[in-house]
């Protein structure tokens, strides 16, 4: 039993030099076999393991991580959490997750600093405003919060936005989801890891999967840098590298990997209250608890696994942000990072069985994976436990591309680079 986290326990630590804390997770040797192996110790993989143990009572589970847990996209995003999608399959899925987010710190006994400070999409013309109303109406009809804001209401929340009529892209209004916000990304991985570990899940770091063990058309385990490990069911959960890992099993996916860049400025006193995004422009900004303005834009829209973006892509997103919020001009970009994103061919994820028995897929998160972490873990755990998709991830099957039932929020079609 681990020492629970609490203010009291911290104060106790103030007297003993914080000597009473145990490691947040063990460092076990891999066993010869598990009921379920999850490839990938990112947010989704760790969440899946946690819900497998907690909801389904399946505790003989290993999470195999090539490097260190949380080192993939859960550790390199812009920490946004929201469910304000237009299409019902997406907003219902993400809303299920948003509800989990709201109780996540307590559930994990790890403060993931989920901060429901509101996320707004700005509209810059009548067309935008109608699209935003349509999105908000679709959400509201499905019981999800969404509110249209006038420029005056926006000014109260974000007074530093350029709300003048002469702005290059004047702000006509916004759609805000108040229950949306940000969370401390690393804490999500660590919180799930600690909670899953406490339920008996083996988190095995520095364990790279190099191949699959097959029995006929059935995957019965994996070859790793630490030897062969057998499994009843194996789940791939390595967004960014899904193409590569699925390729080890001989699968070709509707996915191309792209680099998505983000950056943070030096810290300043509070200047951005909510999360600001735009319907017509491609930037998003929020302010971290340390005071840095965190922002991102479009991905580098050609394939790459490099975690190394191109400067002009960032500069374009910054130009858009500074145009909308001129007060950002004299801040300084402090740190940049990139993630490798699984760009699926309709912009929506793939969660469900694969064409190979015993092998399951959780992939294609594009640039929206972080916010999905709890819902993805929950539904993937259900799928791995029962062999069948949960109602929420049933639409996100791999077959949909061949049948035509694609879920195309941005409606750009099959090429992620056209998005």
């Amino acid at each position: 039993m681990k020492t629970p986290y609490s203010a009291f326990s911290l104060l106790r630590g103030a007297l003993n030099g914080q000597k009473h804390w145990e490691p947040a997770w063990r460092d076990p040797e891999p066993k010869a076999s598990y009921d379920v192996i999850i490839i990938g110790g990112g947010g989704h993989g760790l969440a899946t393991a946690y819900y497998l143990a907690k909801v389904h009572g399946i505790r003989n589970v290993a999470v195999l991580e090539k490097g260190w847990i949380g080192g993939g996209n859960v550790g390199r995003n812009t920490t946004l959490v929201r469910s304000n999608y237009r299409l019902p399959q997406l907003h219902n899925f993400f809303e299920f997750g948003l509800k989990l987010w709201h109780g996540l710190s307590d559930d994990l006994n790890y403060n993931v600093m989920f901060s429901p400070r509101g996320a707004m999409f700005l509209g810059h013309n009548d067309g935008d405003m109608i699209k935003l109303a349509e999105r908000g109406d679709a959400m509201r009809c499905d019981g999800i919060d969404a509110e249209l804001l006038t420029p005056k209401q926006i000014a109260k929340i974000e007074p530093l936005l350029d709300l003048s009529r002469t702005a290059r892209f004047p702000i006509d209004g916004a759609l805000i989801q108040w229950r949306a916000g940000t969370a401390r990304h690393d804490a999500v991985a660590w919180g799930y890891a600690r909670a899953a570990d406490a339920l008996g899940v083996d988190i095995i770091q520095k364990c790279e999967v190099t191949g699959f063990v097959k029995d006929g058309n059935r995957i019965i385990g994996v070859e790793t840098s630490r030897g062969r490990i057998l499994a009843g069911r194996t789940g791939i959960c390595v967004a960014g590298h899904s193409g590569h890992v699925a390729g080890l099993a001989g699968l070709r996916l509707p996915i191309e990997s792209q680099t998505l860049q983000a950056l943070v400025t030096e810290g300043v006193k509070p200047m951005v209250q909510s999360v600001v995004m735009s319907q017509s422009l491609h930037f998003y900004i929020s302010q971290s608890d340390k005071g840095g303005i965190v922002m991102g834009g479009d991905p580098d829209n050609w394939p790459s696994y490099a975690r190394r973006g191109q400067p002009t892509i960032k500069e374009h997103a910054i130009a858009q942000a500074v145009t909308c919020m001129p007060a950002l001009s004299r801040l300084r970009m402090l740190r940049t990072w990139s993630g490798v994103t699984d760009m699926s061919f309709d912009g929506s994820p793939i969660i469900g069985p694969s064409p190979i028995d015993g092998l399951y897929l959780n992939a294609g998160w594009c640039y929206g994976g972080f916010k999905a972490t709890p819902a993805s873990g929950w539904t993937y755990a259900h799928t791995l436990a029962t062999g069948k998709p949960h109602a929420l991830n049933a639409p996100f099957s791999l077959e949909r591309f061949m049948t035509g039932a694609t879920i195309d929020e941005t409606s750009v079609g099959p090429f992620p680079n056209h998005r």
């Binding site: 911290l10 790890y110 349509e134 009809c141 608890d289 340390k290 007060a327 300084r332």
Partner: protein
């Protein structure tokens, strides 16, 4: 004030203010030098515990001395006092303190420090997310550093391309030599230096044999370029670098309007002569004002004539700090002790007592300086009365750019440092970064709790130990758990100290413990600079239609459409948008109207295989068109969904004109090029994008034909016919196409002649009781007619069948998208189909959801709403599940976000003249 003094040479002629008080500085002073010269040791407060902090370094690695420089929209928060040169009238302010720097209420956080170790926030503040939001408010206000400006930035920022054979980074002795050698070899050379003067380490340790100024002159005389105050901040793929150049100091008014310049440089070869950064030494209270790096002390003494202390202790593990002792003695300061952690060292200057096997354990002092230094010497403690301690824990090669370029590092045991190794790009490192002085590992002597590693973020040795204890053992976990290296100095002074501690904990060597990646930027870069000219227009120049000025004279309401601006309505007599649009639409229905359609996508396709190409691109038949005829057409994506629509016209035997939507024009141009040049290069045809060549004017209404006949002196073509003609003395294409549902024409004319044609048509139209109409009236007209629009009903998720266009598909197939259309989900009877809606009560909210009863998940949505132009009454177009078979059904349109609702009946989308009788003469 005790402590710093100034060598009496040079004049303090530049006046500046710090926290409202005026001071004087010498030409060439950094703010840090000037503050020290004025006896100011306390400059800022730390991030977490608000501990008092002074000036620790003399360069860009400074973690502590952060100030806001400048005022209004030019104020630059978090400026390192060591990296800004004083100019007349400069206004500097301390940050992160309230009410004042010397009395900061938030320093109370320091008292709670025992409970606030690494990652404490992960362990508390539970409860609903709303509660965290409240705690977070306090944390956010206490965190942050300076304040962002609230006014717009008055200055511009430039971005320029640069090209050179050899780019040398760093104008120290090695960089100067590399640049001069390359220039003498006839190369196109760029030399960049972040300092305001060349010289690098020579500014601290002059060498009479090297004259940086003369070398710079020689490089320039050979055609090389030397950029001072310019930082190579990013090293990207294929030898591409970004350089940020300060044209004026932070906060200063630029004479030409540009504050900074960003260079996008492609270099044939890159030479990194980036030198070393000194390592601090961990001991208790090592963050106090009066603790400085040894080389920094030497810089202040030698370069700026500022002696930062009178009684100085030096603590070192290497020979370099002995030079600092010499400099201090020469400047008249007293070196009360030289603590050398090693068993032996070089000779010290006369009068300096050297203690071997000696390490600092703690210091204490007042706000601006130290009082006491306590050391462990050979196992026993000894205290010294001192106002300054100069420390050197060894040196860290500046390998940031080398690593950004993908370079490898090699571990040098003697120096306890990573040294640049091989590099996959055309890049080499030269100079001192390759040869840091030997400096053995030394175990810290002070209490871990107060021994700071990351000064700005208040990370101590104890925090690193705690992270380790809790299992955050990978270097990335350590960094993220403790926030080590994530402050504005990016760990330049802290990374190696922390890594040594981690290695010690793990019982491995430093390289085995790992290393975090270096990513751009090397030092923080101003956002306005990264935005460049795009800070004013989001990187999106306005696109102007050819008749912009002519419309402007009518004072229309403009409608942004992508990058374009088009007239939305031409109100008269104080009309609202809706009133004007309705009047304009009525005019079209009853007389005639003219409208600007110049932004339509337009392609001329010529050649013997033109029709073959068009039959690939268009999902309808094209080949059977007779010369002089046109037809409505649409294009599918390869997945079968409708991509765009327009009209196609056969202008001559082997020449066609294809029009497409405004919003999709660029996408269509790319697609046309792909199909013609990549997919079907063997076709004998030419595709030319003539979108901007033609200005387009739509003339619509029952009187349109008569007006046009009079203007051209010829019978206009019948509906969907084409004829060339002359109008206002200018050749025009007349296309008898209708979007409004009336007998109508598009007149396309070379853009430079469009004004004359518009004026002629406008005069004739007005004479017939007509008027110009804008986009809003066009919407009313097309909705009533049931014409789809790209971006509305054509939403990228609709099939031709969904939109009621299935009957027009080319039965022979072979068009792009035919394969995608065979997928079963694309003919699912429950797909969203285009329908019309007629309101049974009030207006229909555009974008609203279609439901059968309250509480139900939507079955469709309204794509466009309008009112009947003549008859009145609200109508709309909508996409409805299975809609083709639901005509007559009653539904509710609901818009919860706007609190609007309407009862509607589902109908055919063709409200107006479904038989097309208005097209006939």
């Amino acid at each position: 004030m005790s402590g710093p003094t100034r060598v009496p040479s040079g004049e303090e002629t530049i006046e500046f203010t710090f926290d409202g008080t005026s001071y004087h500085a010498r030409q060439g002073d950094t703010l840090a030098a000037a503050l020290l010269a004025n006896g100011i040791g306390l400059v800022g407060r730390s991030f977490k515990y608000h501990r008092p902090r002074g000036i620790m370094t003399a360069g860009i690695e400074e973690p502590n001395a952060l100030v806001t420089v400048g005022t209004g929209g030019r104020a630059e928060p978090n400026t390192r006092a060591t990296d800004v040169f004083v100019y007349p009238g400069m206004v500097a302010k301390s940050q992160n303190r309230w009410p004042s720097l010397s009395f900061d209420v938030a320093s109370i956080f320091g008292l709670a420090a025992p409970a606030l170790g690494a990652g404490f926030y992960y362990k508390t503040f539970f409860g609903p997310a709303k509660h965290w939001l409240r705690y977070e408010g306090f944390i956010r206000r206490a965190a942050g550093l300076g304040n962002a400006p609230t006014e717009p930035d008055p200055d511009n920022f430039s971005q320029s391309a640069g090209f050179c054979d050899v780019l040398v980074v760093g104008a120290g002795p090695a960089g100067l030599k590399a640049a001069l050698d390359a220039a003498e070899a006839g190369k196109r050379v760029w030399l960049v230096e972040q300092d305001a003067v060349p010289g690098g380490s020579l500014l601290r340790d002059p060498d009479p044999a090297i004259d940086p100024g003369a070398m710079v002159e020689r490089i320039e005389a050979l055609g090389g370029k030397v950029f001072l105050r310019t930082t190579a901040s990013g090293y990207w793929d294929h030898n591409f670098l970004t350089l940020s150049q300060r044209l004026v100091e932070p906060g200063a008014v630029p004479p030409h309007g540009f504050a900074q310049r960003l260079w996008h440089v492609r270099a044939g070869r890159v030479v990194l002569a980036t030198g070393l950064i000194e390592r601090p030494v961990p001991f208790a209270n090592n963050d106090h004002p009066g603790v400085m790096l040894s080389q920094a002390v030497r810089s202040y003494v030698r370069r700026w004539g500022v002696v930062p202390g009178k009684r100085v202790v030096i603590a070192t593990n290497n020979d370099d700090a002995y030079l600092t002792a010499t400099a201090l003695v020469e400047a008249g300061a007293e070196v009360v002790a030289l603590l050398d952690a090693r068993a032996s060292g070089p000779a010290a200057p006369a009068g300096v007592t050297v203690y071997h096997d000696a390490r600092p354990a703690s210091v204490s002092g007042r706000k601006h300086a130290l009082r006491k230094v306590t050391a462990v010497i050979g196992g026993s403690e000894q205290s010294f009365d001192a106002d300054l301690i100069a420390v050197s824990g060894g040196f860290v090669p500046v390998s940031h750019l080398h690593m950004q370029a993908g370079g490898k590092l090699e571990w040098n045991v003697e120096a306890q440092a990573f040294i640049p190794g091989s590099n996959p790009q055309v890049c080499e490192t030269v100079g001192s970064a390759l040869a840091p002085p030997p400096a053995p590992a030394v175990a810290p002597a002070g209490k871990a709790k107060k021994s700071f590693v990351d000064f700005q973020n208040d990370v101590s040795l104890a925090d690193i130990d705690l992270a380790w204890q809790e299992g955050y053992r990978s270097v990335e976990h350590l960094k993220r758990y403790t926030t080590l290296g994530m402050a504005t100095d990016q760990g330049k002074t802290s990374n190696m100290v922390a890594l040594s501690r981690l290695a010690e904990k793990q019982g491995v060597t430093v390289p085995e413990a790992g290393l975090t990646t270096f990513r751009p930027p090397f030092t923080p870069v101003t956002m306005g600079l990264l935005a460049g000219a795009g800070a004013r227009n989001a990187g999106a120049h306005v696109r102007r239609i050819p008749l912009h000025a002519l419309h402007e004279a009518h004072d229309p309401i403009w409608q942004p459409l992508g990058y374009w601006f088009r007239p939305r309505a031409y109100p008269v007599n104080g009309e609202t948008l809706q009133q004007a649009a309705l009047r304009e639409a009525r005019t079209v229905r009853t007389a005639a109207g003219l409208s600007d359609v110049s932004t339509l996508g337009k392609f001329e396709v010529s050649g013997p295989d033109a029709a073959k190409l068009l039959e690939l691109v268009c999902a309808t038949t094209v080949g059977k068109l007779a010369v002089g005829r046109g037809r409505y057409t649409f294009m599918c994506r390869e997945d079968g969904f409708v991509n765009d629509d327009g009209t196609v016209w056969r202008l001559a035997e082997n020449r066609y004109l294809l029009t497409s939507s405004t919003g999709g024009a660029d996408r269509m141009a790319h697609f046309m090029s792909y199909v013609r040049n990549s997919l079907r290069p063997e076709l004998k045809c030419s595709v030319v994008n003539v979108q901007e060549y033609y200005g387009g004017i739509a003339l619509a209404g029952p009187k349109a034909r008569g007006i046009l006949a009079a203007l051209t002196g010829a019978e206009p073509p019948r509906h969907m016919g084409y004829a060339p003609g002359m109008l206002a003395g200018v050749p025009v294409h007349v296309l008898a196409a209708s979007y409004s549902g009336e007998r109508a024409f598009e007149i396309h004319v070379e853009a430079s002649h469009a004004a004359a044609v518009w004026q002629a048509i406008e005069a004739a139209t007005r004479a017939e009781g007509g008027a110009p109409y804008g986009l809003e009236a066009m919407e009313l007209l097309r909705i009533e007619k049931g014409h789809v629009v790209v971006g509305g009903e054509v939403d990228g998720r609709s099939t031709p069948q969904d939109l009621g266009l299935g009957g027009m598909l080319n039965k022979a197939g072979g068009f792009i998208g035919a394969a995608g259309l065979t997928r079963p989900a694309l003919s699912d009877p429950n797909r969203n189909n285009l329908v019309g809606l007629v309101s049974l009560d009030g207006p229909i909210p555009e974008g609203g959801m279609l439901i059968q009863r309250a509480g139900q998940s939507p079955q469709g949505h309204v794509t466009a709403a309008a009112r009947r132009i003549i008859e009145g009454g609200a109508i709309a177009l909508a996409l409805l599940q299975g809609g083709h078979h639901r005509h007559g059904e009653e539904l509710i349109v609901t818009s919860p976000t706007r609190g609007e609702k309407a009862r509607v009946r589902v109908t055919s989308p063709h409200f107006y003249d479904p038989a097309g009788e208005r097209y006939r003469d």
